[in-house]
Amino acid sequence: MADKDNDKLLEHAYDGIQEFDNPLPTWWKWIFYATILVVPIYMWDPLGIGVGPGKVKAYEQQMAAFNAAHPKSAGTYTDDQLAAFAKDPAKLEAGKVVFTTYCAACHRPDGGGLIGPNLTDDFWIHGGKPTEIMKTVTEGVLAKGMPNWGKVLKPDQIEGAVAYVQSIHGTNPANPKAPEGAKFPSDSAAAPPAVAPKAK
């Protein structure tokens, strides 16, 4: 940095403002050159941290690596396992929180049904076996408006929710939504549901 005693004033002045004839600060000049030098280095990319293959190719590579590191687990649950969760108080307690937070908006806090079907009766649109409930929750039924919760909830949250749904079966809440879907467990002696299953 220039010593201020050596500063040379330029002869001009504007409304009393004068200017020094100081050179560019050396550090300023060199950093400026360096940032210009970034351009060829970034484009040439010798270290592999530059321009690269473009965002889409880079994404495809990342996805391939990601999928290799995290193989999708196939449905590892059995009906018995999920039925056992429904008897585990810890699971049920956690499941109730999940149900209240995420499911109650459409199925009502008591499970009696609102936008979504009644979950307390004997009728199931997409199957009432624990693994079938699991599948409906995890994969959703987008055509009918059931979101794909597998993307939003974590596995233990889903386990809890499925356990909780099993636990509220037969609780007979007030003002339930009319039954929809097929009876489960199917009972050949039982009459068909009072209201015909809705086909949407």
């Binding site: 600060p25 940032t35 351009v39 590191a69 459409c106 055509a143 993307k151 909830l153």
Partner: protein, 722 residues
């Protein structure tokens, strides 16, 4: 040399007017900022329909940029230009027209934005009639300014004037070319550009609005008021020249860094990043020249609150212009984009650089303009400390909010699932920091209110009539002989000696043309390929225009300002596609006039919202978001269930879209009937699912139809569930 001296006086009355406008609009802009800051952690503070976050946020940005900073620029420019050129402004009438025209535009903005009239392009929200008024007023200002330049009595123009010239020319260009649109009613228009091209134009504008409305005008002010207040010469004339030209030329290229990882082509993104990195030192040239001007005057800074304001302003400028290039690096941007990090970044600039430079300038001007002593120096000091502390609280809280949310969005657990798959979880974590911002903002506004009070008390002790000093200066000799000795040495030696630039400074109109050339050439290098290279936007056969009803819904989406909180642009990043679905393709936006990609995710991305939830979910969600998502901070929009759809206006919308090339087919003849048919069908399905009756002519149906369409074209093409 001509021995005759002209006698003349400066027009300070116009400066006083602009000064009051600066301070009054400043308070208004800050207050709206405070209101929207409270609305985030406390959604009940949204008063639908007119005072929701989506409508007030653009009012806040427009008020602080164009009303506060704009009037501050005009205050300082009218004061300093006359003195630096030794001449009165050419036309007092044009100065007055500029003042009143500009204030009328601000009032028009304050009325139309809450009413929901918006082009939905950031900082260019105002609708077409107001845009035309802005162009007229700006041209009046420019004419007055350039004629004044020719009437000057100072041969050479000082660096402050260079920056003013660059600002005046470039803002005109940016404003006109970004706002080209086709009207579809008195207060509704559609950008003539679509999708990728509209996004490009918008951020060419948006970034350079920061450059040529908030940076170059204020550098000009700095170059006048800082040496004046410190009574010290400017550190380096040569640095002024170099950083001026490099700044003006490089800034224009940087816009695409706002669109990293979007559907913008890679080459544009890369150019934006590299030029932003190169912009670091040109920006810091201004900071260096400002701070080093204080060499030998640092003892004054401890005593003079005006210099304190200037030092913090220039330091904030240095911080945000270091951070800008850093944020433009693609990998850094991937983390920061769509988060509060960017909000903190701009507030370092706005509160620190623009705000403090303005306050310092106003306090310096007040005794001179009101021809009296400042009422209380203590209050100036108190203002300084309150505002400094306020800025610190604001930015610390919001930087951490930005980093927190950015990191939460990208976090995966050990099983390869998103750590925080529920978006609202990442919002809840920010609430405490939002309250800290409210405290910081309150301190800042308290400081500004003290300023108004102090100025009022100062003004109250003004003389009965202002003295108008008569200035004397010799007119310019019509025949100018360059008194510089021919420079020695080779080309490079002569170039670096800057004698050529000294000659340019004696030719302001030529200087202005060169500035325009620098800006236009840099722009064309990016604009021409963006519009001409077909492969930038590969077409997708399944992408079709919106139905008339969906278009009406989109108009509502724009009106309510949904794009202020929801993006519609999924980036090709693992954690984004995991959360939202396949990344957005350029071809999906070809009918998006204007593009609605958004720039901040206060709520989740909506690019693939269609079909994620049932119709009734949307109806309930709009009426009260917390009924379906307990912790949502979204405002409630109950009026959508009672407002009637304006069916006749749909035809105007469709016609305007068809005019700019959207293949509407049959809809150009009977859009309202088509919209009615679709609305009835949708309303029936909502009712069948247990929803409210009689929605077929209500706005909620149009909006639901639009939301349910988002991202569906691509899903349909790839054989997904319709």
């Amino acid at each position: 040399m001509n021995a005759r001296l002209d006698s003349f006086s400066y027009d300070d009355a116009i400066v006083r007017k602009f000064l009051w406008a600066t301070m009054i609009w400043g308070i208004v802009g800050f207050l709206i900022g405070l209101i929207i800051a409270i609305q985030l952690p406390w959604p009940g503070f949204n008063l639908a329909p007119y005072l929701t976050f989506g409508r007030l946020r653009p009012l806040h940005t427009n008020a602080v940029i164009f009303a506060f900073a704009g009037n501050a620029f005009f205050t300082g420019a009218y004061y300093s230009t006359q003195r630096l050129l030794k001449t009165r402004m050419w036309s007092d009438a044009l100065s007055k027209f500029h003042f009143w025209g500009w204030q009328a535009i601000i009032v028009a903005a304050a009325v139309t934005l809450p009413l929901g009239f918006t082009q939905s392009k950031e900082y260019a929200e105002l609708e077409w009639p107001i845009d035309i008024a802005i162009a007229v007023v700006w041209v009046a200002f420019a004419v007055n300014y350039f004629v004044t330049l020719t009437k000057r009595r100072e041969r050479h123009i000082y660096v402050a004037i260079w920056f003013y010239i660059a600002s005046i020319i470039t803002v005109a260009l940016l404003h006109i070319f970004n706002n080209l649109s086709v009207p579809a009613g008195a207060f509704k228009s559609y950008s003539i550009y679509a999708g990728v091209q509209d996004a490009f134009m918008q951020w060419w504008y948006g970034h350079n609005a920061v450059a040529f409305f908030l940076t170059t005008p204020f550098l000009g002010l700095m170059y006048y008021f800082m040496p004046k207040a410190a009574d010290r010469p400017v550190f380096s004339y040569r640095l002024s020249i170099l950083h001026f030209w490099s700044l003006v030329f490089l800034y224009i290229w940087a816009g695409p860094h706002h669109l990293h990882y979007t559907a913008l082509p890679d080459w544009a993104s890369t150019l934006g990043m590299l030029f932003s990195v190169m912009l670091w030192m040109p920006s810091w040239g201004g900071m260096v020249n400002g701070l080093l001007t204080l060499r030998g005057a640092w003892h004054k800074v401890t005593e003079d609150p005006i210099l304190k304001f200037f030092v913090v302003a220039v330091t904030a400028y240095g911080m945000s212009t270091f951070e800008g290039p850093m944020l433009s690096i693609k990998s850094v941007n991937a983390l920061a984009h769509y988060t509060d990090w960017v909000i903190a970044h701009v507030h370092t600039g706005a509160l620190g650089w623009n705000g403090f430079l303005t306050f310092g300038m106003v306090y310096w001007l007040a005794p001179r303009l009101f021809q009296t002593e400042i009422y209380s120096k203590k209050l100036v000091n108190l203002h300084f400390w309150l505002a400094t502390f306020g800025i610190l609280l604001y930015v610390v809280a919001i930087y951490s909010a930005g980093a927190t949310q950015g990191l939460m969005w990208r976090a995966f657990d050990e099983t390869g699932r998103l750590q925080y798959p529920d978006f609202v979880e990442t919002v809840m974590r920010l609430i405490p920091m939002y309250w800290v911002r409210v405290v910081g903002g309150t301190l800042y506004i308290t400081g500004a209110s003290l300023a108004i009070y102090n100025l009022y008390k100062t003004w109250a002790t003004r003389p009965a009539t202002y003295e108008v000093p008569v200035v004397q200066a010799a007119p310019l000799d019509p025949v100018y002989v360059d008194d510089h000795a021919p420079e020695a040495g080779g080309f490079w030696a002569r170039f670096t000696h800057m004698g050529w630039h000294r000659r340019w400074e004696g030719m302001p109109l030529f200087f202005s043309v060169m500035t325009a050339v620098a800006v236009i050439i840099a722009s064309l290098f990016e604009i021409i390929p963006t519009f001409l290279i077909k492969s930038n936007v590969p077409t997708i056969a399944s992408v079709k225009p919106y139905t008339p009803l969906e278009l009406a819904g989109r108009n509502i989406y724009q009106r309510e300002g949904c794009f202020n909180c929801h993006s519609q642009m999924i980036r090709p990043l693992t954690y984004e596609t995991e959360r939202y679905g396949d990344y957005s393709k350029p071809g999906e936006s070809v009918y998006e006039h204007p593009f609605l990609w958004g720039s901040r995710r206060i709520g989740p991305d909506l690019a693939r919202e269609g079909g994620k939830y049932p119709d009734l979910w949307h109806v309930r969600h709009m009426k009260n978001p917390r009924e379906v998502t307990q912790k949502s901070i979204m405002p409630a929009y109950p009026h959508l269930e009672t407002n009637l759809i304006d069916f006749p206006s749909i035809q105007r919308s469709v016609d305007a879209m068809a005019m700019i090339g959207v293949p509407y087919g049959d809809a150009v003849n009977n859009a309202p009937a088509m919209a009615k048919a679709q609305a009835e069908q949708l309303a029936a399905s909502i009712e069948a699912a247990g929803g409210p009756k009689g929605l077929a002519d209500k706005e909620i149906v149009a909006l639901t139809a639009y939301l349910q369409r988002l991202g569906r074209d691509l899903k349909n093409a790839s054989g997904g569930t319709p």
